[in-house]
């Protein structure tokens, strides 16, 4: 039992990096656009299912994000530029906008999920990729775990650098902080909001591709991805992008330890216990600011 712990922790880190990636997207969307996008998991589902479909056409899953990423970006961009922008313009107050956006996202979640279900049905799609085993330091790993970790980490760092260093990233952070003033400083805030939302969707779609390499996917997987992403986002601090990545890795480790040493059914209840403790002790999250 005990000798499995290091391996479980490492696999947990590998898995957690994907959680971190999808939570980063959600955190960006909430932090900048103020939309608690509970559709997020459906983008993960779309990414995963499309990867499976594309690999049926002979396209390597590692290349799939090149097609899926821009597609998700466009869907996210359009959603923000039409639906959420209109809701924001018509809402009497910011809290009313958040409530309405949440309900609208709830509707969009069902729209995407059932379009996918009509298109692909409810079956499980075995989409494993690189499923052979390598030994490393006396521990056995599945190759795709290492590949997904590398991609997720690289993307996570890239997004972090983009947000903190680039000109566009600065505009995004300014818009998140104070859209009014950012607008006065010459930032095209509507464009920035739509861009951020699209970027979040792109990250979700890519995370979906990574998930599909390791597990069989189906059109009904979106909801549980959203639940994990939401919990990770709160643990990391709402709106804190690096915090989400760290919390994702933490959740990955916890999920592997719970599933490996105790009981796989209890992973979500354990997340909930963590969430409850955090909300009671430190509602701003692990890396969140006041």
């Amino acid at each position: 039992m005990v000798e499995r712990i290091p391996q479980l922790i490492i696999v947990g880190i590998f898995q957690g990096s994907v959680y971190g990636l999808l939570a980063m997207g959600l955190s960006l969307q909430y932090g900048v656009c103020r939309v608690l996008n509970i559709t997020h998991g459906e983008f993960v589902m779309l990414g995963a299912v499309l990867t499976f479909t594309l690999s049926g056409l002979g396209i390597n899953p590692l290349l799939a994000p090149v097609i899926i990423g821009p597609l998700m970006f466009v869907i996210g961009f359009v959603l923000q530029a039409t639906l959420f922008r209109a809701l924001k313009a018509w809402a009497p107050s910011p809290p009313a906008f958040e409530g309405n956006a949440l309900l609208a996202a709830f509707g969009v979640m069902y729209i995407i999920q059932y379009i996918a279900r009509i298109q692909w049905g409810g079956r499980l799609m075995p989409s494993y990729y690189l499923a052979d085993i390598v030994s490393f330091l006396g521990m056995d790993f599945v190759k795709n775990q290492i590949v997904t970790f590398a991609i997720a980490l690289a993307l996570g760092v890239a997004v972090y650098l983009f947000l903190s260093r680039s000109r566009m990233g600065r505009a995004i952070r300014a818009t998140a902080e104070d859209p009014g003033t950012a607008g006065l400083m010459g930032v095209n805030t509507n464009m920035i909001l739509a861009f951020s939302f699209g970027l979040g969707a792109l990250l979700a779609g890519t995370a979906g591709t990574l998930v599909s390499m390791r597990t069989a996917v189906s059109t009904s997987m979106g909801f549980s991805s959203t639940v994990i992403a939401l919990i990770v986002v709160v643990l990391g601090g709402l709106g804190s992008v690096p915090g989400s990545f760290v919390a994702g890795i933490l959740i990955g480790i916890v999920s592997m330890l719970v599933a490996g040493l105790w009981e796989p059914v209890l992973t979500v209840p354990v997340y909930y216990a963590m969430l409850m403790i955090l909300l009671l002790v430190r509602p701003t999250g692990i890396l969140g600011k006041k």
Partner: protein, 329 residues
């Protein structure tokens, strides 16, 4: 006699008459309608309870609870566990109390914070409940699901109708009370409400628990109609989605809004869902988005606008008629 004037002067009388008609319709339905019609009406009334009690909390305070199913399912499980020990009519309040206590716990953890934490917490609550119960069932009780002894359809119909009456009356009186005003002011501007001396956390937690109690009671009454339940059936996300859609569609500003929404969609659900499940859910998603975009106050919000427009037209006609009379004499 002028019909428009009659309506405006005898509004109370007409309302009472309308309610009496509905009462007679529901009570006498089993006499001439078939079994399936009775079950449709029972389901519709169940949705009325869910939608009204959802709007009781989320409609007034603006805090979006995404988990009516968690409390509803808790009621179903209370029934499954207690059906052999206690009589049916005693389980209903117990189911309500169980949901009340659980909602109190959830509320105390999340409702101190900003609304968004509450929405996040409730979103996954259904999954949490499902997995905990699956764990308990497989590990402790060594079983999958529960048989529930069926109860006569007519008894179920009358019981759920009684619950509808209680829920609607409770909502009506809460809305009229000081407490209802406190809730509305929290929905309007929570900080201002706090400064006026309202204990916002206590108010929110209490109303959340009360609304969940009705959902739990509705779960108890629905359980016998399901015959067999397991965690996935009792805590189906569907029961979270429908009440929200119904309340938003009907409009949460008025008491009758969620009722109208529940009657329309409850009927559609019962008649269409079986054949066209995916298209049905897709259509409902589209309706939800469209309503939030174009009818933020729902059907109930449409009524005053229509009244304004129609009223103007009617008045014009009436004036025209009078002018004509004068001209004749």
């Amino acid at each position: 006699m002028d019909i428009t004037r009659f309506i405006s002067t005898h509004r109370k009388l007409l309302l009472v008459g309308f309610l009496v008609l509905i009462l007679i319709f529901i009570i006498t339905l089993p006499l001439y309608a078939g079994k399936s019609d009775v079950r449709v009406l029972t389901t519709v009334l169940m949705y009325v309870v869910l939608a009204v009690s959802w709007a009781m909390f989320s409609g007034t305070t603006g805090y979006m609870s995404l988990a009516p199913a968690a409390f509803f399912g808790l009621g179903i499980y209370t029934m499954a566990l207690l059906q052999k020990e206690l009589p049916f009519f005693l389980i209903i309040p117990i189911g309500g109390l169980v949901s009340f206590a659980f909602a109190l716990l959830v509320g105390l953890v999340t409702l101190r914070l900003k609304g968004i934490y509450f929405a996040i917490f409730t979103f996954g609550l259904v999954v949490f409940m499902t997995e905990i119960i699956q764990f308990l069932e497989t590990r402790l009780w060594q079983r999958h699901g529960w048989q529930i002894i069926p109860i006569d359809n007519e008894i179920l119909l009358y019981t759920i109708f009684g619950l509808v009456v209680v829920t609607v009356l409770a909502t009506y009186f809460i809305r009229r009370s000081r407490y209802g005003l406190a809730l509305l002011s929290i929905g309007g501007n929570e900080e201002a409400a706090e400064h006026m001396g309202i204990n916002t956390t206590r108010t929110k937690v209490l109303i959340f628990a009360i609304s969940s109690a009705f959902m739990g009671a509705a779960g108890v009454i629905t359980a016998p109609g399901l015959i067999y339940v397991n965690a996935n059936i009792a805590f189906s996300l569907f029961y979270s989605f429908m009440p929200i859609l119904m309340a938003v569609f009907g409009g949460m500003g008025q008491l009758y809004g969620p009722i109208v929404g529940a009657v329309i969609f409850g009927y559609l659900e019962k008649t269409l869902r079986a054949q066209l499940y995916s298209y049905f859910m897709l259509g409902f998603g589209i309706i939800l988005v469209a309503v939030i975009l174009f009818l933020p106050n729902g059907i109930a919000g449409l009524v005053p606008t229509l009244q304004d427009k129609l009223g103007g037209v009617i008045q014009k006609l009436r004036k025209g008629g009078q002018a004509g009379q004068h001209a004749d004499t």
